[in-house]
Symmetry: D2
Subunit: 283 residues, 4 copies
């Protein structure tokens, strides 16, 4: 073959499989989204369209990759949990991190105009991704707790900051100064006493972030039809979705027929969420 004397260059591609039997967390962050949100006039402190677009892209990703069993998003970031036993792309790191980042990005751009009706996309946005491995269940609980605690901290700050600016007439510099060193309780008080905002009544979507899980769809009641034996013999057997012998690297799609992905805005720090979904941590 013409190219064969060059093919030795393939030997420089080293294997990068991730340790089996560990949870993978795939984490995405918007790249230079401060500038991106300014140029596209994102509402402050939260832009509902932008958050819903993120959720949409996350849902697309989870529909394509059944091994992603949980998603959590806030602002311009999203974290996804892949089941401990996943063998997606033979657990090759670069393949997983690049493909998932690519599809999320693609979906974000693809659906942009459905959410930003009057705001055309000015230039192609990008995200960075990484994978972190966790051997234990408690670490997974703590990872997602960490992100949701962060959501709370950021959103409380941003809510107070933009109230000071938008309603209180402060400059951004002044608002930063007003909030410097304040604890959580003091930010609540500023919001309530100066702007009549009860933070605990702020939309949960902003305070808790978005939690994406699969939910089983109840089977539609099918009419019981008795097929006479002689007819039955002529019905060709329904082919099983061919999975045996298939490449393990191919995402399986049959799960989609039985579950759907729902977006919640609930607490994931306490036990209740996890106890109701034991499959998240136990394959």
């Amino acid at each position: 073959m013409a190219g064969s004397r060059f093919a030795y260059v393939r030997k420089f591609e080293l294997p990068d499989s991730l340790l089996p039997g560990t949870f993978m967390v795939f984490r995405l962050d918007g790249h230079s989204f401060h500038r991106f949100s300014d140029i596209h006039n994102f509402a402050k402190p939260n832009d509902l369209r932008a958050l819903q677009l993120m959720d949409h892209a996350a849902r697309d990703l989870m529909e394509e990759y059944p091994d992603i069993i949980l998603g959590f998003g806030e602002s311009d970031e999203f974290s996804f949990l892949l089941r401990k036993s996943t063998d997606l792309y033979n657990r090759r790191q670069a393949k997983i991190v690049s493909t998932l980042t690519s599809l999320f990005t693609s979906s974000y751009v693809f659906h942009w105009s459905s959410y930003f009706l009057d705001t055309p996309l000015q230039y192609p946005p990008s995200f960075d991704g990484r994978i972190v491995l966790y051997p234990g269940e408690q670490q997974i609980r703590d990872y997602f707790a960490w992100r949701q605690a962060d959501t709370h901290i950021n959103n409380l700050y941003n809510t107070a900051f933009w109230a000071l600016v938008q309603q209180g007439g402060e400059t951004t510099t002044q608002a930063h100064h007003t909030l410097r060193g304040t604890v959580s309780k003091e930010k609540h008080e500023i919001l309530f006493s100066r702007f009549q905002i009860n933070y605990n009544q702020v939309d949960e979507q902003y305070r808790k972030g978005s939690v994406l899980v699969r939910q089983e769809i109840p089977e539609p009641p099918t009419a019981q039809v008795t097929i006479p034996k002689e007819l039955d013999d002529n019905i060709p057997p329904v082919p099983e979705p061919s999975q045996t012998g298939g490449k393990k690297t191919k995402p399986k799609r049959d799960v989609k027929q039985k579950t759907k992905i729902v977006v919640l805005h609930c607490d994931i720090i306490k036990d209740e969420f996890w106890e109701a979904r034991p499959d998240l941590l136990h394959d």
Copy 2:
């Protein structure tokens, strides 16, 4: 801080810096593009719109990342050379591979409608990416030679195959059969004797792929103004673009002002291309 008891989970994020002083080749491939090209009715054997869209995304990537000094694309794949001395994102592997894949994908979707005027994008396409390190110059030459040799092999096959189908009336199965075991010369003969196609006159774009390099833009002739010494002293010094102390992870953009990216369809296997551009292999 509320989230601090969870923050230990960050310790599981391990460093993944790539060996300094080595060339990086970043390689992108379309994910399931066989299906994607079918659904979007790509012309066979080559769809000019699709190739130009790939080139556009590649150019966007190179404009954003000056450390990419060469690109080579064919079909649904692209390879990019990063200079040996690059310190992009501190050479962190996941950060580089995910960000570059993301921006390429984003640009591909963003510009889709400029190339596929009458073919709306049906669903978000995705790409996978990887980085391969090469310590030596010859290996870089051979890597790109390998890709261009592959382009030649694939395109000759595809050109013959689709001639047999589209002009020769063969089924795809028959066409595969006709070509099985033929060497290069025989494919040339089939094309010429049966379809009057001189393969060597097929557009170079298809036979050679796309080669993207930076080219210096000649400075516009500026009027020579002599500034008297006394005035000169009052002119405040032009501030240097602030790079000192800056995050090394930030792509520098000043290069864009002096060079532009051009798309060539030339040979990159022989010496000429490389000898004319010594900077590609020597920082």
Copy 3:
């Protein structure tokens, strides 16, 4: 400093920390020990001196590194379990694997003459080492079960093989041929019917390998002295062994005062061993 212009070469040394929160198994194998055992006339099928020397080196290693909580050896190999939470040498892979291999080797050569009284060491033997990470407890159980099952298989084969050669007068080629394809039960029968060897009565040391664990040493009975309350108040508090702030990379030695390492030849496949030692799997 004279050397400072060269010091940039340190930047090529990349971090290699192992994932936190996972068990490490450190595994050693003799390098070319077939030749080594021939030259030093090891007894067949098992050389008691050689096994005891291996055990000695393993014990030295465990005494130096309290984070090693279990050892298992057979023939010329040894496996060691490091606790999941170990922070030995900041979990740097090359540092751990090289230092542990080095000390084991050093101890083996150092103590050689205590076991091989009449057989001088002819040349320096060597071992290779590696570390495998396991996220879960069951995997650790199965790893050690795998090694002990292997011990059984190898020892049964070797016992039968050398009985055929030493007592049965077969050549090694004949003995291999005699045993080819035999299952476990048939080897038992050959041993019993031809050589009156009841394999189940072969020394457990050979059938089970060596299991090294730490055992608490009962405190020597100290004379009970009643300290009057008023005096007690003046006694300065006993300082805790200073561990805080210390370099985590330093092996802690204080454990040695309270435990000793014992060599057992017991079953580690069934539950009993592990249930009696819950600390092995739970930090």
Copy 4:
């Protein structure tokens, strides 16, 4: 097979091959050698026996592994250069680093009593090892220059320090204080004016460290026999030493017959050493 249900644990062993086409530097350091040298009464500032023992172990390593083409040692450390094209153990990192560290350690203990005639080894010493990859020739030159510059700095300091203590009657604390902040020239002056030591006449072994290279052994002059043409045809061809088909992981030993390893104490910072040995940097 009895052990087969446990054998899945092997899947956790991940590949760790090092990038092809790059130089490997294998670096060894004594572990806790401050304590080790105290207990064994090493002479200060340099113990000739200890250095010669290090050189011996290094030579043993180079004789066993022909792919090591250069060694440099000082004090309790040694660096070895493996040729860029080496395929030793398929370039598996843990295998290489552990085996080389093991053999060096083993040789050190094995030969101890040949150098320390009246000083029995008190306990098994150990070393740690690591591998650093370098893509370029200049980096290799600079790595070894860095180590030799370091040798110079350390030895000048130590020579002055121990002269102050041993001949000047200072305590070690005083000697540290005397030297604090002194530059190279001042240390030379202290040595010369107070102790009549011309540092440049100190044994090169201490000032330059040990440089181990392979040197070709001249073929012994064989009697020239003229073989008549007709006889010559009947002589069967001399078989080449069989290397084809052999495991690449096996160190080749035939080189030993043609070269020997010599210990030099020469400059390796300037060009001369390298220009005389072009094979070190060019495979």
